[in-house]
Symmetry: C2
Subunit: 600 residues, 2 copies
Amino acid sequence: MIPLLGYAGRILRVDLTRRVFKTEQLSEQLVKLYMGGNGFGVKILYDETPPRIDPLSVENKLVFATGPLCGTALPIAVKFGVFSKSPLTGILGESYSSGFFSEYLKRSGYDVLIIEGRSEKPVFLKIIDGNVELCDASGIWGLTCWDAEDAVRSDLGEKRLGVLTIGPAGENLVKFACVTSDRYRQAGRCGLGAVMGAKKLKAIAVYGSDKIEVADPEGVLSIAREVVERSKSARIEHHRVYGTLGTLEIVNDQGALPTRNWLYGFFEKAENVSAEFMLKNTLVRDVGCLERCPIKCGKYNVVRDGQFKGTAIVGPEYQSTYALGPNCFIDDFKAIIKANELCDKLGIDTISGGCTVAFAMECFERGILSEEDVGFELRFGDPEALIKLLELIAYRKGIGNILAEGSKKASELLGAEALAVHVKGLECPGYDARVLKGTALQYAVSSRGACHLRARVQVPELTGVVDRLELKGKGRLVKDREDLFTVFDSLIICKFALPIFDISDIARAYKYVTGYSLSEKEILTIGERIVNLERLFNVREGVSREWDTLPKRILFHPNQGIVTSKEELNTMLNEYYKLRGWDLETGKPTFEKLRRLNLL
Amino acid sequence: MIPLLGYAGRILRVDLTRRVFKTEQLSEQLVKLYMGGNGFGVKILYDETPPRIDPLSVENKLVFATGPLCGTALPIAVKFGVFSKSPLTGILGESYSSGFFSEYLKRSGYDVLIIEGRSEKPVFLKIIDGNVELCDASGIWGLTCWDAEDAVRSDLGEKRLGVLTIGPAGENLVKFACVTSDRYRQAGRCGLGAVMGAKKLKAIAVYGSDKIEVADPEGVLSIAREVVERSKSARIEHHRVYGTLGTLEIVNDQGALPTRNWLYGFFEKAENVSAEFMLKNTLVRDVGCLERCPIKCGKYNVVRDGQFKGTAIVGPEYQSTYALGPNCFIDDFKAIIKANELCDKLGIDTISGGCTVAFAMECFERGILSEEDVGFELRFGDPEALIKLLELIAYRKGIGNILAEGSKKASELLGAEALAVHVKGLECPGYDARVLKGTALQYAVSSRGACHLRARVQVPELTGVVDRLELKGKGRLVKDREDLFTVFDSLIICKFALPIFDISDIARAYKYVTGYSLSEKEILTIGERIVNLERLFNVREGVSREWDTLPKRILFHPNQGIVTSKEELNTMLNEYYKLRGWDLETGKPTFEKLRRLNLL
């Protein structure tokens, strides 16, 4: 067998029901067709799980995957992906995070970890230099993510661990529970923490010291040095200084910051929750992933005074700030940090959590929820109410038990569907798709639901590289960027690196690491293949053209008279489907397209 | 001398300084060139007052004018106009109202009443069947409009009077004080109540029983009957059933309802302040002007329960509801009725009053005003704060003394110019000019500042007769409708009648009443002449192209990314100026245009 340079070369399969572990070789075929990360995760789920299963049942699987660039000297390859059928959306769930899990899993000999079955009792999984062990977790079940992680680290007496945990939200099967990585990083979206919770898997701790063999170590080092050098450029500087929060005032200035449960696209007090405010008031230091990434977009913030004094997180990111702040009409930055900390400790995705609270606030304001239903006044702009409600959700207490289902299901239960802002069940990220047409399209078609990361079309739209209100060409833009960023998620590298790491750099790096020489076109074809396989997974679950739509608040809501209408969406969808080779009527990939992509 | 059929034929001039009255003949020249109402008012001010005077000084004059159709059988000719240099804007001020004043002034022998000079002590003016008397008003000085009117009526022992009053706001020279007519109707805009207050004229009571001679009484009766018949049409039905408030949900549905001091164009709780809500909860009966107008758009509302039980007004109109409700983020309809009643009693224009409070609320939210400055929390959405602040303004107490200057001056004093939403000092009516381009143009060019009545361009824009986002043709639309509605304001007839009373009806009615046969074109030329004379008045006060602009919140404010930009405005302005025959650079009427209009 040819050694798969750049890969650990093995898959670890853990069956929680039978408490057995199995190691499998990574096939060259899988590597060549699917590259890594996202490709591996989706391929495994598509092949191994039957259609229409309950995501929280024993049949569902949870896949953690790294990619060929992870564990190398490349400082932007610090991420891993989590894949499963999502309990929030009922379709493909995927989410990415950073932290030492990525590097240590690979260096302990595994590119991929597959969790199957379900444990009867709470367990945690140890993977230390290839030794796999399932440990009793009854002592840490019920703890917050942070406390559980501290307990695991202290138990193992090893500081240098990658640790994944779930919090009370994951345990209680909150449909938007996240998987926490090294305390401050989350695989937040799609409720994959609830899948861990259903499997009674409280935590995973990994350490590995293998060296990842690469084809051309000098080449890898040189491109790593280039990345560090280029990261000093102006295009990265803004990100390093302000972090993702730096985008908030830019977005707001363009009327694209969803506010008050997407009633408006502008937040009058944006400056109170801006990066400038953070820099002046709470920032302690910049944090680069694995203490290695030169972009250092992480911001360690500590509240120094007032009611929330002592609260400390890496964050809040832009998306968390949008969801817990403006979208709840809250402008108290320190309270947002507090709510973010609570989400992190309890294991709640901040976007879905914040948006579900915003949805509930509007239900309250409109009289759909009463004080009797909630237990307190749940008005827009009230940080105390936000904080109280997040706790109720994590523990599924009172109204929290309904809201823990996510805003789509909760809105159905409450008869308030028009107020829930989601696509395919996934709450919308904080870019107003009424004034960003390509962003609307990406929300409508992205495989996991309303996603801002698969194509990141908001970036060219917000920076004016493309006309944000133009429809023509948006199908092309979304399609091309989906293919490209699917490659990022397969390698796996951080998308914030795009300005200094483009497709030509990817081709070079992939060759240095694996020895395989792929053209840019061949690499993008892998991305396209994975996008189509994701679509096949979703089609199997029932997804069709009708599913590729937008929430009522975007389609019909009269905000300044500007919506992205069904007609506008259809215009863009037609362009997108044609370029994708998907049937215009059903939205399914055509046989011709699947054949060309080796998917038949 | 030829009898001027349809006119009373005389002007009453009252010099308050010297306490003398003078009657002058109306000249045929004035009638032929300026028709009545608006034409008379502006011509008199232009000819008789020097440039650059202080509007509250003894030099300023206050002109009340009726028109040729007033006092006839035509049920829509129930209005009068008030004209003066405005203390709010420093340029031409004009405002219209209805009530018996119009008919009785004319039937007591006067088409026009000119108030000059300034009384030392409070007075009220009686004009009873041609007998003019100045009476001591020290006993009613300080009373609300309603109490003062009751006192005047009771003093004169005559129920059938037209009574104009000012309230404490007018006495205290609040720059947006209104002139109240028969309790429930106001000449609200431009602060003309403060001019009355400066002249120490508390009230005017009029009764007249002369018959207005018309050229063709049968013709007038037939057209009056036609109007009554046509008023049963569907186009008027909506207005009769819902009143002006019926427009609120239509405007909101198009994202054009200014909300939260124009931060947004959509109010989430519009249904709580809608005509539907009014019909279900507070409406007692429909009110037609002079108990005669068949449109009956007036709505008499009584609050039947709660904190404001017993509050009763004719209203609130759409504009009052916008300004006191959504623009202050208030959705308590009964509190809006209360605030409206307070404005009516104190003599405050509801649009400028509500908008100035909304401006102050935003100042408070942004920390420009503190609780110490205001004396209480002045948050958006708080009806108690609105009500308290309106009282402070009327009596110029505390922060009210600054806000009584209007939002333009107050914003300069507070260093918050960007938050004040006005054109030339007049607070903007409730149609979001960011998404209604012609409406933006009419606000920018209208002679009294941000005016929704001079051209009523919002109507074709909101009803989809023209594309509201199109720029081309908006100059033409504004110009043509300004000319037309200036004719309405000169006749004087109600603009709500347009759907059943167009320019051909005007030509017929004018001939029946006066015997003068004018073509539609000749009539519109009179409108154009008056518009140009208004412009000359303003040019004399310093107005130039730079003044024809829009507030920052419309030009720059990023609401859903949609603004009416300086460039867009300039495009429309150029078209408008060209059609007007005004110099593109200075915005002054060209000599050629003035010569053609007999203005040179």
